[in-house]
């Protein structure tokens, strides 16, 4: 069954009435919002719209069902953006879905991921109560950090109804350098040197086998000098993308166009890359944020990827494609997680696993 609430009260009512609930935003991460048998789908599109936005505050408050595309267009009018650069903008992703999935894009390199920008949250807990945490100011230390807790929560702790974010000015000028290296080792060496240097990159991606995609941003008058410095730092000029071609390059990557397989997010550090590269073979993939984030498209059995990630001590999350369980790799479950889940959802209405018959 699918329900489309249009008010907070209706969301609360649904939670109180139905035993098993799966919230759904824009549906751009189908593996995370496809209902299991017995689950009632809660379409959140009816709870949308920006509630507060004062460009001078660098703060935006919106209902969880608001489309990223709407938010980005509004921010762009004022030269601002969501610095964690969420994926699937044109695919209809929502703010709430992005938070629940915990997804960030290439530009997270500059200032941080979605967890670093969420300021406030409102959600409906497993008993239908409306809960707020955090606030709408950029600095706040009052109470438990429920906004961060909801990042990556996958609908397991509550149904997000409102979120507040810190936003930043988008750089007045950007440029991208694509730099090929002779092999992975050379590319990783450069990646480490860049990540530890004062050179400020909006994106630092590794495109296998051995290409770095580097995005600079800032004032237009400083950009030529910075590009030159970057090129001399690397010892090569690379391929320079500017203006429309540059924008197109990154826009094309926003939907994570890696092919038809199961789309998987992996959290890692750069030191895992050499072993992964050996194991992943022809799997389409891209490493983001100086090797802290990997998106790949898996065409084989999920169990094989699960085993591969486990062997590396890594965890993964399936975003697209059918799987019995969206979390792969090492088990991140622990007693704190169980207790907190039970505290917010004592009846297990938001359980990610199939309800018992």
């Amino acid at each position: 069954m699918t329900l489309m609430p249009s008010s907070l009260a209706e969301v609360q009512e649904v939670v109180r009435t139905y035993p098993h609930i799966r919230p759904r935003g824009g549906g751009s991460k189908p593996a995370l919002c496809a209902p299991l048998e017995g689950q009632t789908v809660l379409e959140m599109a009816g709870l949308s719209g920006v509630l507060e936005y004062d460009p001078g505050e660098y703060v935006l408050v919106a209902r969880a069902g608001t489309k990223l595309a709407e938010v980005e267009a509004l921010l762009a009018e004022h030269g601002q953006y969501l610095p964690f650069d969420p994926p699937f903008v044109e695919q209809g992703a929502t703010l709430g879905g992005t938070v629940a999935a915990g997804l960030s894009g290439p530009m997270r390199q500059r200032y941080g991921g979605v967890r670093d920008f969420i300021l406030g949250v409102q959600f409906v807990d497993g008993e239908g109560r409306l809960v707020r945490g955090g606030g709408k100011v950029v600095k706040n230390a009052a109470g438990f950090d429920l906004p961060k807790l909801m990042v990556g929560s996958l609908g397991r702790l509550g149904i997000l109804t409102e979120v507040a974010f810190k936003v930043f000015p988008f750089p007045k000028a950007t440029a991208t350098l694509l730099v090929n290296f002779s092999g992975l080792e050379e590319a990783l060496k450069a990646l480490y040197r860049l990540a530890g240097s004062p050179i400020e990159l909006y994106a630092l991606d590794l495109e296998p086998p051995a290409t770095l995609a580097l995005r600079l941003g800032g004032l237009p008058e400083a950009l030529p000098a910075r590009l030159e410095r970057l090129q001399s730092f690397l010892g090569q000029t690379g391929e320079l993308l500017r203006e429309a071609a540059e924008a197109r390059y990154w826009r094309h990557l926003n939907p994570l166009p890696l092919g038809e397989g199961r789309l998987v997010k992996v959290a890692l550090t750069a030191r895992h890359i050499p072993d992964l590269e050996k194991a992943l073979g022809s799997t389409p993939r891209r490493y983001l944020s100086a090797g802290n984030l990997l998106y790949l498209s898996w065409n084989d059995e999920p169990d094989r990827l699960d085993a591969l990630l486990k062997a590396q001590g890594l965890s993964g999350l399936v975003l697209k494609g059918t799987v019995a369980r969206s979390q792969l790799g090492i088990n991140l479950e622990h007693v704190l997680g169980h207790k907190v889940s039970r505290a917010l959802d004592p009846q297990g209405k938001f359980s990610l696993h199939a309800p018992l018959p």
Partner: protein
């Protein structure tokens, strides 16, 4: 000595188990000295296992406990509990690992904040969160209170810089939260733990993210003949699209105090001083500096100084960082308040604070992290004058309510602790607080860990919501 204490004594060698009144006295309060309490005993663990042993002892005997570092909490967050155990973590002060290549440091909770940056400096790295107490405050305390500092607009708070933690839960169990990656693939449990004010457990090993040190700083000091103009200048800087690392404002009373204390060379007659600091790559900062100069010129500053070298920069910051303690020279006693308002409401907040100050007949000095909207009104009073402390506290409370009314928060960086727990209801509804309480009770059903802090009410009673999950699971029972 009662049998339970003898049991504890066997766990800790002499010198690390304190029970004599003279030994306990230094631990009776933290930096918020208005509150005092005598702990039952103090233990000074030197390892994770000893922390576990202490926590298990507390769980077994139902004795509440507080973990603390250097005790710099300004909200009474590390105030001991009358008759409870105090777990002092200052001896767990080792840097366990510094991996410059992966840009991270693993430290014990008693490691001092500033020492992280010192250790990272040879590699061109630093630890970004810099609360004013950074020369003495510990990483464990910073983590517990999600400490801030002057750079939060651009860099976020402590929580944004903690990658992983080894945690002892209130029942003595050990878990690992987070990883070395900046990303994760499940609920952000670590995000919940950071800033939980010691109510959810004790971190014994903390992995911090290090950042490359900015290549250049450009520090500007601008003097104004009114606070409003300084506030408007901050708004103008933001509107120009610049993202400074820090923007700080001091009012005349704060200037006077700082100047008396450290002779920073501030223009003494100024009604307000604004410090703006740009940081980053040299060509970028040089270009930004020109925009900043235009903005500052238009903002009506009557004097503008730009630090020409590292020494001049340090001097500007020294005055700012000394302002709190320096106020002690102007008044026998003062309360440091910590509230946040949306940046656009700073002017209104300051005007209302001025009116409150007049109404209460108490001087208020203002120092604030203007870029973050984080106010630090310093309320000056004389504790020897009958009723003045009470008036000062009332005034402080009015200011907090004002912050919430303007859309802000009751604390930007000091935490709720003991001091602000009764104001939590200004900011959060009953259901909000109840959700937080349920999380706390799920992990600590007897409210042993830092009992009496953060949540309104004196001694928090057991507030079970139906049968406790642990009870349902058969793990605990009420006997």
């Amino acid at each position: 000595m009662n049998p339970a204490l003898s049991e504890l004594e066997r766990l800790f060698p002499p010198g690390r188990f304190l029970v004599k009144p003279g030994e306990l006295a230094p631990y009776e309060s933290d930096a918020l000295t208005a509150f005092r309490a005598r702990p039952l005993a103090v233990v000074l663990p030197e390892s994770h296992e000893e922390v576990v042993a202490a926590v298990r002892w507390c769980a077994k005997h139902q004795i509440p406990y507080v973990a603390r570092g250097s005790g710099t909490s300004l909200s009474g967050g590390s105030l001991p509990i009358d008759g409870g155990l105090l777990i002092g973590l200052n001896r767990m002060n080792k840097l366990l690992r510094l991996d410059a290549k992966e840009r991270l440091a693993v430290v014990q909770p008693g490691f001092i904040n500033l020492q992280v940056s010192n250790a990272a400096a040879p590699y061109g790295l630093y630890y970004a969160p810099d609360p004013s107490s950074q020369p003495v405050s510990t990483i464990g305390g910073n983590l517990a209170f999600n400490s801030g500092g002057a750079h939060c607009l651009k860099y976020g708070m402590t929580s944004n810089h903690v990658l992983a933690a080894r945690v002892v839960l209130p029942d003595g169990e050990t878990i690992e939260l987070g990883s070395e990656s900046l990303e994760n693939t499940g609920p952000d449990w670590l995000g919940l733990f950071v800033g939980s004010e010691g109510l959810l457990g004790i971190a014994t090993e903390i992995t911090l993210r290090l950042l490359p040190k900015p290549e250049t700083y450009h520090t500007v000091l601008a003097a104004y003949d009114s606070l409003e103009k300084a506030g408007e200048a901050v708004a103008a800087v933001v509107a120009s699209g610049l993202l400074p690392g820090a923007m700080e404002i001091m009012d005349s009373l704060a200037i006077e105090a700082a100047e008396a204390a450290v002779k920073a060379g501030y223009p003494l007659e100024a009604r307000a001083l604004l410090i703006v600091e740009l940081e980053g790559e040299t060509p970028q900062v040089e270009a930004e500096a020109q925009y900043l100069e235009e903005v500052i010129q238009k903002s009506g500053a009557y004097e503008v100084r730009v630090a020409q070298n590292a020494d001049e920069r340090m001097k500007i910051w020294k005055g700012r960082k000394a302002a709190f303690s320096a106020v002690g020279r102007l008044s026998p006693d003062y309360i440091v308040q910590d509230g946040v308002v949306p940046r656009s409401r700073l002017g209104q907040a300051l005007a209302e604070i001025e009116q409150l100050s007049a109404r209460y007949g108490l001087r208020v000095a203002n120092v604030f992290h203007a870029g973050d909207g984080n106010l630090h009104p310093l309320i000056l009073y004389n504790g020897r004058v009958e009723g003045e402390l009470q008036r000062a506290e009332e005034l402080a409370g009015e200011i907090l309510k004002l912050c919430v009314a303007l859309g802000g928060s009751i604390t930007g960086e000091h935490g709720v602790g003991m001091e602000k727990k009764s104001y939590m209801t200004e900011m959060f509804s009953e259901d909000d607080l109840d959700a937080m309480q349920r999380i706390r009770q799920a992990l600590d059903p007897w409210a042993l860990s830092n009992r009496g802090k953060m949540f309104p009410g004196e001694a928090p009673a057991l507030r079970f919501h139906g049968a406790h999950p642990l009870e349902k699971a058969g793990v605990i029972s009420r006997e």
